[in-house]
């Protein structure tokens, strides 16, 4: 995989997630381009590169998600990073069985990756909440937050259909194994 293409696309996705993607808000959830990109990388990159790519995207996502704990603003690097890594594991384990260039496959990969990432995120934050002086960044129950994350995963999976098509147009810049074989 071309790391320069990865870094450039990750920067664009992060920037758009923080600004314009709110236009596409649906059912209170804003689709995430970073989630779509992670699924795209997990589907197409070499296995080891896919693991690292998803971990890095999760880390960048953590560093873009401030939370307030005990009145202090803090970026907790880890919940999304670990979640995206586990999500990548799920996608990597099934990607041989699907037509990777299909937009539907991209949507299912996004859904699977984000559902697992959401589970890990909620679990880690719940664990944090059990620690002494621990706080969680949501109001209500963990189950409620998990439900909202599931909605977010579904909305992002729907949004990944056109995003996958768009990323597919740039396929030869990525230097994935499949694009090398084509050449």
């Amino acid at each position: 995989m071309s790391w320069s293409a990865f870094i450039l696309t990750a920067a664009i996705a992060l920037t758009m997630d923080a600004s314009i993607m709110q236009v596409f808000e649906f059912m209170g959830a804003t689709p995430s381009l970073v989630g779509c990109l992670a699924a795209f990388v997990a589907l197409h990159a070499e296995r080891r590169v896919a693991w690292w790519g998803c971990l890095m995207l999760g880390l960048l996502f953590d560093l873009s998600s401030p939370v307030s704990i005990a009145g202090a603003l803090v970026f907790v690097p880890g919940p999304y990073a670990a979640g995206f890594a586990l999500g990548a594991a799920a996608v990597l384990s099934v990607r041989a069985e699907v037509m990777r260039r299909s937009m539907l496959a991209a949507a299912f990969a996004t859904l699977a990756l984000l559902i697992l990432a959401s589970l890990v995120w909620t679990m880690l934050w719940t664990l944090r909440g059990w620690l002494p002086a621990g706080e969680v960044p949501w109001a209500g129950s963990a189950a409620g937050e998990l439900f909202r994350k599931m909605v977010w995963s579904c909305v992002t999976a729907i949004a990944s259909l056109p995003v996958a098509w768009l990323l597919g147009r740039t396929f030869h810049y990525w230097d994935f194994p499949a694009s090398r074989r084509r050449r």
Binding site: A11, L14, T15, M16, D17, A18, S19, I20, Q22, V23, E25, T30, S32, R47, R48, W51, W52, L55, G58, L60, F61, L63, S64, S65, P66, V67, S68, I69, A70, G71, A72, L73, V74, F75, V76, P77, G78, P79, Y80, A81, A82, A85, A89, S118, L124, W125, L127, R128, L131, V136, P137, W138, A139, G140, S141, G144, E145, R148, K149, W152
Partner: protein, 285 residues
């Protein structure tokens, strides 16, 4: 488990374990470096994010921009002065209560702190599914301090600056965010918005999962849908006192306690559609 070139590799497993460990570290160990790391990451990304935010507002303009400009300004002035009046009245009430005690008045007067309004743009927001924090393009250089309240339209409270701001940026936690915690408010009837706090109903609200503020009041307390909710919380800065928090949207009997009513308050502004807010910055010296 996959092995060799098929597996993630030992270094990767160590990295994921480190990520899990970092997730559970105390805030005091994370804050010194993660905030700087995030700020560094966003240095090149903030300008394009600001531009795209402007594009988003162009695509989905805030509703109040459609209103007539002059009348809007007049309404904003009216609301601002009304809020100041409420704030001062709260202060006067508080002082009179204290004066009623035997303490010396000179010890009680905290002194009016001059407040300077700073108009700031929203340059982005936190990522994730519950992205409610707003990034603002004002910081220490503009005199912004932790806890400074943000308003729109003169007296409509949006939230407050969370944590110490950076040199040129800060984060705003909207009222509906879980980090707001409990809010002390008083409720003025819709038909008498100028009713003094002593005639209003005192309540404590907390944000729920939908971004609404919920709280309980005595069933004898007269609270109706449409009543106006104003802040009277000593944990917030003085500049925020008396500001409009929102409007009562629902009142129903409490399932747990028949002597109490549950009310739901809708925050007055949709933070998703905001383009600019006014920070009420305390002027020191």
């Amino acid at each position: 488990m996959m092995r060799g070139s098929q597996g993630p590799g030992k270094i990767f497993i160590v990295a994921v374990t480190a990520a899990v460990a970092l997730s559970l570290l105390p805030v005091s160990l994370l804050r010194p470096w993660t905030n700087d790391l995030s700020a560094l990451l966003w240095i090149p990304l903030r300008p394009p994010a600001h531009g795209l935010t402007a594009l988003r507002h162009w695509l989905r303009p805030p509703r109040d921009e459609t209103a007539v400009r002059d009348s809007q300004l007049l309404l904003e002035d009216r609301d601002r002065f009304r809020a100041l009046w409420h704030g001062e009245r709260l202060r006067a009430e508080e002082l009179s209560q204290r004066l009623a005690q035997v303490e010396r008045a000179s010890k009680l007067d905290r002194g009016g702190v001059p407040v300077e309004p700073v108009m700031v743009s929203i340059t982005g927001r936190g990522a994730g599914s519950s992205e409610r924090f707003l990034a603002l393009n004002a910081g220490i250089r503009d005199g912004v301090q932790k806890g400074d309240p943000a308003v729109i339209g003169g007296d409509l409270l949006i939230g407050r600056v969370v944590d110490d701001p950076a040199e040129t940026s800060c984060w705003l936690a909207p009222l509906g965010d879980a980090s707001t915690g409990r809010l002390d408010v008083y409720i003025a009837p819709a038909d008498r918005p100028e009713a003094p706090p002593s005639e209003g109903v005192i309540a404590q609200l907390r944000p729920d999962a939908r971004g609404m503020l919920v709280g309980e009041v005595d069933s004898t307390g007269r609270v109706d849908v449409g009543d106006i909710v104003r802040l009277a919380d000593p944990t917030w800065k003085r500049a925020a006192q008396g500001m409009r928090v929102g409007v009562v949207r629902a009142v129903r009997a409490s399932d747990r306690n028949p002597l109490r009513k549950v009310m739901e308050v809708e925050c007055g502004a949709e933070t998703d559609r905001l383009r600019q807010v006014t920070l009420k910055v305390e002027v020191n010296g």
